[in-house]
């Protein structure tokens, strides 16, 4: 679906006409990312991050397929095969560092994409399905990244696998059998490594499939925009191509610049030195932490150090950690305010920034050992995280008095243009 003023696809070349009758892929592209897809004219750079996430996924798939040509998924040789890639394979160090840091870049852009959605209310009607599919993609990404981290079979790989599969042993009665089923043994071993490699290769393509659904669901109402006002007529939009292909292209350039800087100048900055020690099932590294992108959730897991009601601390930690993500599925219905953009929500905007600080604080606590004051800070951070979604958001969306809204995207854009020129002439 698109707006009625969308430019129709009219092939002129006989070959393109022939193609259009047989397999209308050019028509699909034209109507999805070409001149045939009108987009709000006022998107800012925060709307780049979807395309950037797609670029990051493609980098991961390409570098990953190449790495799989040299990697051996066997517990006795996996570590050495990664060192073989690093030292002997032509440009192997580059491809592996690109894949390692590509994962971090993927999470950075996805977190910015998610917080963009939180700030501008992109999860609200009519785009709930876009949000729900996004949360599914996020979960798949986490599973994929975790299993990928196990493959080098270093100390962090091994103990990460041990701890994360340990989450399942918290489930009453069936927990331990489920864990053994996942591992194919009593500790992570060859069976675990093989299945993780198989799934790590599969899941990115599942992610790709869900991304197609995510974009499909997005293209029914069309993109949201910084004002949160829906498109009313043609002057509110510009065609995707060339306007946003150019704007996204610029963003991809900046993204690649940061990505190569990280890959070439500090490729191990976001990793852990312990993972260059081969896996040893008899010795846990002194300080085990997950990759940075899991730290806030890890802090929530660690926040539960006491039994509460009839549920033990371990199960509470696991429930809270999964709950902190599952909560996002309910977000479109927890926030009942019809105003999407935080630009017009003075109260919500404050709590949005507190949430950002809270997640950063949880991330910091996740890195620290299980000692005071980090435990109490994790507990407060975790309480606030849940309170934001379950208490603050429903109340704020009821009592808040929004700021006056412009009537249309165009009015907002022209008003901004008028103030900009006025201030420009005043300074001149």
């Amino acid at each position: 679906m698109s707006f009625p003023w969308a430019k129709p696809y009219e092939p002129t070349h006989p070959l393109m006409k022939w193609m259009d009758e047989k397999l209308p892929i050019p028509r699909l592209v034209y109507n999805a990312t070409g001149p045939g897809y009108p987009v709000p004219r006022n998107l800012n750079y925060f709307w780049n991050f979807g395309v950037l996430a797609g670029a990051a996924l493609m980098i991961q798939i390409i570098t990953g397929i190449v790495l799989a040509m040299h990697y051996a998924a066997n517990a006795s040789v996996a570590f050495n095969s990664v060192e073989h890639i690093m030292r002997d394979v032509n440009a192997g160090w580059f491809i592996r560092y690109a894949h390692m840091n590509g994962a971090s870049m993927f999470f950075i852009v996805v977190y910015l994409h998610i917080f963009r959605g939180l700030y501008y209310g992109s999860y609200k009607a009519p785009r709930e399905m876009v949000w729900l599919l996004g949360v599914v993609i996020f979960l798949l990404m986490m599973a994929t990244a975790f299993m990928g981290y196990v493959l080098p079979w270093g100390q962090m790989s091994f103990w990460g696998a041990q701890v994360i599969t340990g989450f399942f042993s918290a489930i009453p009665i069936v927990g331990e059998p489920v864990r053994e089923w996942l591992l194919g043994g009593f500790v992570p071993d060859n069976a675990t490594l093989n299945r993780f490699f198989s799934l790590h290769y599969l899941l990115p393509f599942v992610i790709l499939g869900v991304i197609i659904l995510h974009i499909w669901a997005l293209h029914i109402p069309g993109s949201s925009n910084p004002t949160g006002i829906e498109v009313k007529d043609e002057q509110d939009t510009v065609p995707f191509h060339p306007y946003y292909t150019a704007k996204d292209g610029f963003g991809v350039g900046i993204f690649l610049l940061i990505f190569v800087a990280l890959t070439f100048f500090s490729p191990n900055a976001l990793g852990h030195a312990d993972n260059y020690i081969p896996a040893n099932s008899l010795s846990t590294p002194a300080h085990i932490v997950p990759e940075w992108y899991f730290l806030p959730f890890y802090a929530i897991l660690k926040a539960f150090t006491f039994n509460f009601l009839w549920i033990d601390a371990k199960l509470w930690g696991v429930i809270a950690m999964f709950g902190s993500i599952a909560l996002l599925f309910f977000l479109p219905w927890l926030d009942s305010s019809p105003i999407k953009s935080s630009n017009y929500r003075p109260l919500y905007r404050i709590f949005f920034w507190i949430l950002v600080v809270d997640v950063l604080l949880l991330g910091w606590c996740g890195m620290q050992p299980a000692e005071q004051p980090w435990v109490i800070l994790s507990q407060l951070g975790a309480i606030y995280y849940f309170a934001h979604f379950l208490v603050i958001l429903p109340i704020v969306s009821r009592i808040e008095r929004p700021l006056p809204m412009p009537n249309s995207i165009t009015e907002a854009v022209l008003a901004k243009h008028a103030t900009d020129t006025a201030s420009a002439s005043a300074t001149a």
Partner: protein
Amino acid sequence: MASESELNAGIEDGVRRRDFINIAAVSFAGVGSVAVVLPLLNQMNPSADVLALSTTEIDISAIQPGQAIKTSWRKQPVFVRNLVAKEIAEAKAVPLGDLRDPETIDQRTKPGKENWLITLGVCTHLGCVPLGAAEGENKGDFGGYFCPCHGSHYDTAARIRKGPAPKNLVVPPYEFNSDTVVTIG
């Protein structure tokens, strides 16, 4: 196309031949799918070579009182600790009601060998190897083991006392072959 009346001809109970075939076919396909899914799920369980019950023999003669060693059974770490009288007394002094997972030291050791504490070195929280078996390692607030991953403290009978772990360190099945040799498994 047969008309409605033709299809319903000769039916007294309201069930047509076609309904029966439909239900039978779908049921058969359903049973077949389950029959295929089961082996596909079961292949992920520990395989026969992993399950093959390995037993490990340990010589404990060199472990002095107050010392502990770390060995492995089924690829899992095992702690063998030679408790001193003070540690046994400490463990006995704790009222059972204070324990998260109440067990006496007698239940966790063999009769007459209560100085030999043999447990898995796998934290019951999320499976890290606790510290405290080797010389100079942090033994936690209760003089037993301490898991650095998420801060679980175990006492001198390797019972959980503080932190997120729900259970005591597991005592594996084992037998004394002689005073100095133990078979685990």
